[in-house]
Amino acid sequence: MAVRVQTADFDVGIETRALLGGRTDVGAIVTFTGTVRGEAKGRPITSMTLEHYPGMTEAELERVEAEAQARWPLSASLIIHRVGVLRPGDNIVLVVTASAHRHAAFGAAEFLMDYLKSRAPFWKKETGVDGAGSWVDARDTDLAALERWTKLPEVE
């Protein structure tokens, strides 16, 4: 169980092995990697800058992770979120969930992404080819994705 906020890149394989290497109680591992798209609203971007609220970000991610632990029988979980200046194609976020069975691992991974997108204090600013920066708007679809979980019963 861990959360990390960092400027450095991450490697999915290395992180997964570090989290789960040698364990034999795990039957399902789900990894989700979010990456920087090279366009926004049909226009190319040259970079994406991620700002965050140090201290609160980690606290929110830990709250989200604890909520997932309470809802699903997870063997382990990991959230890594990058901050700073990123380029198209770069990794932004990694979520790893592990459980004895796949339903818990899939469900928890999607839940973690939906929750962190709407609760963790990160803000994205995209820079276009003309050098102009534009803050990304929060998406209604992300909020709708979150509300879906509040209506679901706890999952075995």
Binding site: Y53, K117, A120, P121, W123, R139
Partner: protein, 85 residues
């Protein structure tokens, strides 16, 4: 009361600074009161807080709603809706 105020993303850019320590006047009791007060502190603050309904807030690193009381707060942050992930 005296608190540390933090600003993030376009709220920070519009105000022109990321933090300050401020003594709030009596009568400022809730987050919504703080926003109304801050908006009177000059054109840059008026611009940052021109749409209070889109401003999010945290007290001591926990999300709060506009009607949350600020009594006992050490750090209050204002920011746009979050866009991580």
């Amino acid at each position: 009361m005296t608190v540390t105020l933090l600003y993030f993303a376009w709220v920070r850019e519009r105000i022109g600074k990321s933090s300050e320590t401020l003594t709030l006047p009596a009568g400022v009791v809730t987050i919504a009161d703080v926003i109304r007060f801050l908006a009177t502190r000059g054109p840059e603050f008026a611009h940052a807080f021109e749409k209070p309904e889109v401003i999010r807030a945290a007290i001591d690193k926990t999300h709060v709603r506009p009607d949350a009381p600020i009594a006992g707060a050490r750090e209050i942050a204002f920011f746009p809706p979050v866009t991580g992930g």
